[in-house]
């Protein structure tokens, strides 16, 4: 299914379970319970492209990112980096190719280090070289994210929130990685700063041919930045395919709910007020049997509570895990905003 030379990163049936603390009673016969945070996820990230992992809190998207970044070890499954099995690689070699940008620069940057030291640290550790060579690399990546040489000798406190996120990005691109994991890169930022960072990420991708794994709950950001979207629900991949297809014609009932619920800046399309959303994200300890979305699904049938639907192709490259995917074939979600549109007549709603 996947062409391994074309893809920077491939995961195969990746699983990450977290064991829960056993009952305090040492003689308890109760089975040890686990949280299935990521339960059999297979994705591939093409070179120079962006794959967005979309889902709500607790769906496992951050666990997936951390597993891919080797911050935690997978329970089972494979991660292939450029066709090589990551578990057999040295950590240092993994980090030369995979770097991560976290959500909040305030906690991901060392408050007492200068910007130059922060950005230089991964270069020194991974590639080594003379101080001069390292400095040169630091200045190049700072310039790439739009920071001046003078700002390199400041500490994070002396920069604005947007500038600090630029530092975090500069640090991630300094060792010249192939893949950047972006964990909610703009959620902590204001709207206008978010726009700046999104633009920067696109420029960097075009300039250095970077691949991005974008973790986000923000549908608009995923739509804007990504080429491929993977929708996760309760540890499972429920839909996977080209961004344009999924944004306009989502097929999994959860994706449809998510796309409709994400507000758009268009008072003539009050999507969000016209949908009925049942229940809440299930607990990962006791997920529903069968399809995990079944208690909230408007299309639910008997089979959904018994059999977990497999991911199946509905059109080239577009996979959906739903027993009733035939019924969602003509759902269209409109996500256009007013900008660039002739305003419909007032009172159209």
């Amino acid at each position: 299914m996947v062409n391994e030379t074309r893809d920077v990163l491939v995961t195969r049936d990746l699983k990450k379970y977290f064991p829960l603390r056993r009952s305090l009673n040492p003689f308890s016969k109760a089975e040890r319970r686990v949280v299935k945070a990521v339960d059999g996820v297979s994705i591939s990230i093409p070179r120079g492209k962006t794959v967005a992992i979309v889902g709500e809190s607790g769906c496992g998207k951050t666990t997936l990112a951390r597993t891919v970044a080797q911050l935690i070890a997978p329970t089972s499954g494979e991660i292939l980096l450029d066709g090589r099995d990551m578990s057999t690689m040295k950590r240092k070699d993994v980090y030369k190719d995979v770097q991560i940008v976290f959500q909040d620069p305030d906690s991901s940057l060392d408050p007492r280090k200068t910007i130059a030291d922060t950005v230089g640290e991964p270069v020194r550790g991974l590639h080594g070289g003379t101080n001069r060579a390292i400095d040169e690399r630091v200045m190049r990546s700072l310039a790439a994210v739009g920071l001046s040489e003078e700002q390199a000798y400041r500490i994070p406190k002396q920069l604005s929130g947007g500038q600090r996120q630029r530092v975090a990005i500069a640090r991630a691109i300094a060792p010249s990685p192939k893949l950047l994991i972006l964990d909610e890169p703009t959620s902590a930022l204001d709207a206008s700063v978010q726009a700046q960072i999104l633009r920067l990420l696109i420029e960097l991708q075009n300039e250095f041919g970077l691949s991005y794994m974008l973790i986000t709950h923000n549908i608009a950001v995923a739509q804007y930045l990504s080429d491929v979207v993977a929708v996760m629900y309760a540890g499972h991949l429920v839909e996977y395919g080209p961004t344009k297809t999924i944004m306009a014609r989502p097929r999994h009932p959860y994706t449809i709910t998510l796309m409709t619920a994400a507000p758009i800046a268009n008072p003539w399309k009050r999507n969000l007020l016209n949908i009925e959303i049942k229940g809440e994200v299930p607990s990962a300890i006791n997920p529903p049997t069968g399809c995990r979305f079944n208690p909230r699904c408007p299309y639910v049938g008997d089979v959904c509570t018994k059999v977990d639907p497999p991911l199946e192709e509905v059109s080239p490259g577009h996979l959906v895990a739903c027993h009733f995917k035939a019924q969602t074939a003509d759902v269209v979600v409109e996500r256009r905003t007013t900008s660039g549109l002739a305003a419909p007549e007032v009172g159209a709603t």
Binding site: A195, I264, V281
Partner: protein, 300 residues
């Protein structure tokens, strides 16, 4: 607006807040208190920090209901003893007063009704829970239920859905929108998310660095935004994909409010700033059909 900012340092220097013909700024703190909750209620961004973690949902809701009842009975609502007295008439003054917030059957019934109003399926169980046992969406619903049990005429909602997931946000916003008609309340929704505003608001007021820069009906604002800041904000929203739209971020950052610029506070970031913008601040004026804007581009 509901007089919650600590004073000093916060101080209303001038202006008035006219609520049903009364200027709230001129009221004494004691009189203002009777407006808070019963007339104007507020819900906050993070429900976990606004609920008391050591009391069950039921007793916290009972407190809100008791306050309303005592007020309608003409008692000073702020006195915890007065709350107690409604149900337990005798109480010794010498003992330190610890509000017990006992859940009488009547209170329970009313609290359950309030929870049903916010579409909580099993109100009986929720009353017996502590806030930490509830999900984010449930907590925010409890907050709304508490606020509404005061039967306020105005609900001030400060970023009520920012801490919530997309589907939960949709549920809460839809609920708020429905409640406007059901309980006949007005809502002042404070948000940084223009998309949320466009989905639920009837009227949108755009603020920048402490000033109102534009004030218009929701359809007017989104079809013909006038102020350059509003336009800038709208062009910052990612729409479509990177292939067909380019984001136009607003250059620069918000000015220092300790020493704000002399003229228009947006002038330094404004693409169409003129000389006059840097010398005197523009006034908010009506440019037709209730669309107000504060910008020299639309006349003095």
């Amino acid at each position: 607006m509901i007089g919650l900012l600590p004073s000093p340092p916060a101080k209303v220097l001038e202006g008035s807040i006219v609520y049903k013909g009364t200027d709230l700024v001129k009221l004494k703190p004691k009189d203002l208190r009777s407006y808070r909750g019963t007339e104007i209620a507020m819900i906050f961004q993070e429900p976990l920090t606004s609920l008391n973690p050591v009391y069950k949902v039921g007793s916290q809701m009972a407190e809100a209901i008791l306050i309303r009842e005592s007020r309608s009975a003409g008692l000073d609502a702020a006195d915890p003893e007065a709350i107690e007295d409604l149900h337990k008439p005798v109480r010794k003054k010498s003992k330190p007063v610890k509000p017990k917030r006992k859940l009488t059957p009547e209170l329970r019934k009313e609290a359950m009704e309030a929870l049903k109003l916010v579409r909580i399926a099993d109100p009986e169980q929720v009353l017996e829970r502590y806030p930490f046992e509830l999900s984010g969406g449930m907590r925010q619903r409890v907050m709304i239920a508490m606020a509404l049990s005061q039967r306020p005429k105005l609900l001030v909602a400060d970023e009520p859905t920012t801490a919530l997931d997309v589907t939960t946000q949709a549920q809460v916003l839809k609920l708020m929108k429905e409640l406007i008609t059901e309980v006949n309340t007005s809502i002042m929704l404070i948000t940084h998310d223009l998309a949320v505003a466009s989905q639920v608001a009837d009227r949108v007021v755009v603020m920048y660095a402490g000033d109102v820069v534009e004030d218009a009906g929701v359809y007017d604002l989104f079809s013909k935004p006038l102020h350059p800041y509003t336009k800038g904000l709208l062009s910052c929203i990612p729409t479509g994909s990177k292939d067909d739209t380019k984001l136009m971020p607003i250059p620069g950052s918000v000015p220092d409010l300790v020493h704000p610029p002399v003229g228009c506070r947006y002038a330094d970031r404004c693409p169409s700033a003129m000389d006059i913008c840097r010398t005197k601040p523009p006034k908010l004026r009506d440019v037709g059909s209730g669309h107000k804007v504060s910008c020299f581009l639309y006349g003095e």
